[in-house]
Symmetry: C2
Subunit: 220 residues, 2 copies
């Protein structure tokens, strides 16, 4: 059974690894599953063939035999449930890891998404400069809480898990703005995640895809 | 073993049921587990005793013997995993329900949270009126996709599940603004969720708590 995921033909982040397929590639690399990629453009993402897999017309999706999944958190959780390496075996530790997986996606990521919207989609709006400090403070408040919890521990709760994979990925969205620099505990945590060989392989794979996609797009 | 959750002493939504403890109460009612509530104020939520349970100083939390969980999605998922009634048994159907649970929290809720921030926290800011249509359109775009998927089916995927509990709860945040009225498919879906006896019991319980809390707050 071959795993197939979808990703951008030419990611708008220019290969920085911030598109969500990187999270799924990372999880696949951590559990040692080979995969192939079907590339989509902003046009083909909104066509019926892809909407049948992903009702919101986004990437990534995951296909493995008769299993199809469309939400990044769900794909990573599915891989963690069915393969060793991303969730502890002991029941309480597993519950705590799943808790942090949800916290990354529903408590930490929303203010970061709002900040990314302000920084990119609303960059040229008349309110951009005046509003930005308030949006940044919403992110900083979460970062202070997370750094206070993490302290000098290596990962969120015991060994590296799907929760760390997701939390590091969520925090990476802050890197282009330099905002992570103000939180050295979190910058070091993200660096630990990025140093993992599985992350390196995932990053290189998405970067290679972006290079190939942008060359095709530039071809006459 | 008695289940204990935390909730606001006096919810800022004045008993509309929009605080996240309602989601947990609803799940507890669906699976038929009795529970008790420990009430917190905006002050006690930020004190060490609660931060030891919830690193972000929020409600709700869940305690059951030696199990403690702090994130709403994780609590609802934990209840769904360990009690009948909120997740299908068949593996593929279960994966799809978990997928929609994550989609509610990480694809549908973020633009709704951003809209709620614009509507409440930024109501008096100089950019409020000019910016609002753009924020609303981000929500409407998701609503159109979700309504297109849902069509005239009763629930997201087969029988009612934790995914519907969460999606209905996320959509309820739009009710005070009237925005749901523009999406009759979704308004009807939310109404179906609210008509469930378990939801009615959860709603009444949080409303009774709010009434008692606001009376205590008003006492001389």
């Amino acid at each position: 059974m071959t795993v197939t995921i979808t990703a951008f033909e030419c990611s708008p982040d220019r290969g920085l690894g911030l598109a969500r397929d990187t999270r799924v590639r990372w999880a696949l690399e951590e559990v040692g599953l080979p995969y192939q990629v079907r590339h989509l453009t902003f046009e083909t993402m909104k066509q019926p063939a892809h909407l049948a897999l992903h009702p919101f017309g986004q990437i990534p999706t995951y296909e493995d035999g008769d299993t199809t999944i469309f939400e990044t958190g769900a794909i990573v959780f599915h891989l963690a449930q069915h393969h060793a390496g991303l969730l502890p075996e002991e029941a309480h530790a597993r519950t705590r890891a799943v808790t942090w997986l949800f916290a990354a996606l529903n408590t930490v990521e929303p203010p970061i998404l709002e900040f990314a919207n302000a920084r990119i989609l609303e960059r040229d709006k008349p309110w951009a400069a005046e509003r930005m400090p308030m949006v940044e403070e919403r992110v900083h408040a979460r970062m202070r809480q997370l750094a206070g919890y993490l302290g000098d521990t290596e990962w969120l709760d015991g060994p590296f898990s799907a929760a760390d994979l997701m939390m590091v990925s969520v925090l990476q969205r802050l890197k282009p703005s330099g905002m992570l620099d103000g939180h050295p505990v979190l910058a070091a945590y993200v660096a630990r995640g990025e140093a993992r060989p599985a992350y390196q392989r995932a990053f290189e794979a998405q970067l290679a895809d972006w290079r190939a996609g942008s060359q095709r797009a530039a071809a006459p």
